[in-house]
């Protein structure tokens, strides 16, 4: 399938992976410098899994996500400035400074919101698929969740409903192999993708989650099935996060083996895809220029953030209800 993808699409994949990498690298620095309050959870190392999934969706399609939250809207095409401003808590943030890193959402690109509660946004994506089915608008929906959320009941209630109603939804398990410090295999019985069979739906395991094209292919197949009325798919992507669970976190124990980490670092999705693009005839100059463009985009996002005001205190009392005032 990917042999037919135009070079422009491939370059867009690399652009979005780079956006996630550079955005998260900058966010990590800003957390450590105290410029971003609280903490953030980066998608560094998981860019192929995020972008391969998002680019298999159309612009009108829906998506929900989790605490590892920046990659999803970036992958779906959200502009970086309002995302960075949100991380800092500025009035120009995509959620006006009321969501923060954990609750990014950009409805303009179908991003229905990231969730700080593990597994909590899976039913939301399922409901978006329900509305697509009832309204007949041809949209599909994708729920991002981790290996940790794969053990939440919300997933199985959602899979069952989606299966019985043949909803156009993709359950996308980002298996980065650790729920914070807990190795997935120590708390997960069997193979996550194989659980799909119990719901009468297709389950796919993408072993090479560092290949953006492998992820794109698997999710594209699922999206086509969903759009054609074939119902939901569970896609499990094996990947690895390069940073700590959250920035600034220093765990007392080495829960991840150094050799294991090194093996995954050698399979950096952005480096791998750059090599692939070169093999497809893209010049190093083009790729260098792309990297420079993305760096400039991130710089601009930070400048936009720095130039933006903090919200007025009164903004804390807006946007709860559509028509009820709540006193301070």
């Amino acid at each position: 399938m990917n042999a037919t993808l135009p070079i422009e699409t491939l370059l867009e994949m690399q652009r979005r992976m780079l956006r996630i990498r550079r955005f998260d690298e900058r966010a990590s620095k800003m957390v450590k410098r105290g410029q971003i309050p609280g903490t953030v959870h980066t998608s560094i190392g998981q860019e192929a899994q995020v972008v391969g999934s998002c680019m298999a969706l159309g612009e009108q399609d829906y998506m929900s996500g989790n605490h590892r939250s920046h990659g999803h809207p970036i992958g779906k095409g959200a502009p970086l400035g309002p995302l960075m401003a949100e991380l800092v808590g500025k009035a120009t943030g995509v959620c006006k400074g009321k969501g923060g890193s954990l609750h990014l959402a950009d409805f303009a690109v179908g991003s229905l919101g990231e969730s700080g509660i593990v597994g909590s946004s899976i039913p939301i994506a399922t409901g978006a698929a329900l509305s697509a089915e009832v309204l007949g608008n041809g949209r599909v929906s994708l729920a991002f969740f981790g290996d940790g959320a794969a053990n939440q009941g919300s997933l199985y209630e959602s899979m069952n409903m989606a299966g019985v109603w043949k909803l156009p939804v993709i359950f996308l398990c980002e298996n980065n192999q650790y729920a914070l410090s807990t190795p997935a295999h120590t708390v997960t019985s069997g193979v996550i993708a194989e659980r799909a069979a119990g719901f009468g739906m297709e389950g796919v395991r993408v072993e090479d989650g560092q290949s953006v094209l492998a992820v794109y292919d698997a999710v594209s197949t699922a999206v086509s099935r969903a759009r054609e009325g074939g119902g939901p798919t569970l896609v499990e992507v094996i990947t690895y996060r390069y940073n700590e669970h959250s920035e600034g976190l220093r765990l007392g124990t080495d829960y991840r083996d150094a050799a294991e980490r090194s093996t995954w670092l050698d399979r950096d999705p952005i480096v791998l895809f750059r090599d692939h693009l070169v093999s497809r005839g893209v010049s190093a100059d083009t790729l260098d220029a792309l990297e420079a463009e993305v760096l400039a985009e991130v710089d601009l996002a930070v400048a936009f953030t720095n130039d933006s005001p903090y919200p007025e205190p009164s903004a804390a009392f807006e946007d709860l209800y559509t028509d009820v005032e709540v006193a301070a």
Partner: protein, 343 residues
């Protein structure tokens, strides 16, 4: 006008809304078979007015027993163009979906800076007073009053049930409606035309001058009976039914209490942090000077609900306990003191 039961009025509101707007759907356990009588014209599928036949399977949707999934899916659907009515049947089933109610339904619009609207109604029934035991007897609306972002209604008459439910379906915010099953069989003349009762407007059930009773849900009919008893004793009782608990019509409560100077609050929920506690605090904070006697709450005790009829019947406000509370505020220490001074 025609005579409708409370349940029939809910069915009428749902039918009107389904006919008026194709984005309205009904989902829940057993809604296709019209088990509770709110999704059809009669008890049989062949009765005229069966919702499944009128609106089809896409819009009348039986769900699996998966409250967390149902509530979350309804929220996701509401955020993307539908206006679902979710029938959760028993109010105690709401706890199965607590994460979705508190973390998604209530917070999404706010967290996302107003990007989301959440036009969804969650109906549930409080089966208290019917010997259903502790798992089915809950009156949990005060817990949800503690969650900013939810609107909460508790209609106590067929007319209110119809008009408030229509307004709830129109609302772009999530609305939880709590129905006392003891009220389901109430009958009265209800307007057959479409009408809406705005959320946040209390109803003055009867006017009076000596004491205000704020009564909620199933306590309203009991308060009416108590007021009739008291009238025979020469006491003039005003009854306010807030109908909507969030947003609360504070002005109606304050004005009535300021007028009578005495307040009794009756509700079937537990005492601690109940709606009565909130209303009591409101009045004490705002118009303490207007009070001629201490406020009295008549509520369920902070106790679980026992099964045996002989045990359960003492748990909720009744005509007798509400009446006694009124007699108590009329005979409170400050009043006796004032009477002695004037003598």
């Amino acid at each position: 006008m025609s005579v409708m039961t409370y349940l029939g009025a809910i069915g009428a509101a749902q039918r009107e809304a389904m006919e008026a707007d194709e984005r309205v759907i009904i989902m829940g356990e057993d809604v296709e078979a019209n088990v509770y009588g709110t999704t059809g014209g009669g008890k049989s599928r062949s009765s005229e007015g069966d919702f499944l036949q009128m609106f089809g399977k896409k819009r009348i949707r039986n769900t699996p027993i998966s409250e967390e999934g149902i509530v979350g899916a309804a929220a996701g659907a509401a955020m993307t163009g539908l206006r679902p009515i979710v029938d959760l049947s028993y109010s105690s089933f709401l706890y199965m979906a607590m994460d979705q109610f508190v973390n998604q339904v209530a917070k999404n619009r706010y967290m996302f800076g107003g990007q989301a609207s959440m036009p969804v109604v969650f109906r549930s029934a409080m089966f208290y007073g019917l010997n259903t035991g502790a798992h089915h007897s809950d009156r949990p609306y005060p817990m949800f009053m503690n969650v900013p972002g939810l609107k909460i209604i508790a209609p106590a008459s067929p007319s209110d049930a119809k008009g408030l439910l229509r307004a709830a379906i129109d609302s772009d915010d999530p609305v939880l409606t709590f129905e006392a099953v003891l009220l389901w069989g109430l009958k009265e003349e209800v307007d057959d035309n479409e009408y809406r009762i705005p959320l946040g407007k209390a109803r003055t059930v009867r006017e009076g001058t000596d004491v205000t009773i704020v009564a909620i849900s199933g306590s309203v009919p009991e308060a009416i009976l108590a007021a009739q008893d008291l009238e025979d004793e020469g006491v003039s009782v005003e009854i306010i039914d807030p109908r909507t608990l969030v947003p609360l019509d504070t002005r109606a409560i304050l004005e009535s209490t300021a007028k009578t100077g005495r307040l009794v609050i009756a509700e079937p929920a537990h005492r601690t942090c109940g709606a009565a506690a909130e209303i009591s605090a409101l009045v004490a904070e705002e118009i303490f000077d207007a009070l001629r006697a201490p406020i009295v709450r008549v509520t369920a005790p902070d106790m679980q609900i026992p099964f045996s009829p002989s045990l359960e019947k003492q748990m909720y406000p009744t005509r007798a306990t509400i009446g006694d509370a009124v007699r108590r505020v009329l005979d409170s220490a400050p009043q006796r003191l004032a009477a002695e001074i004037s003598r």
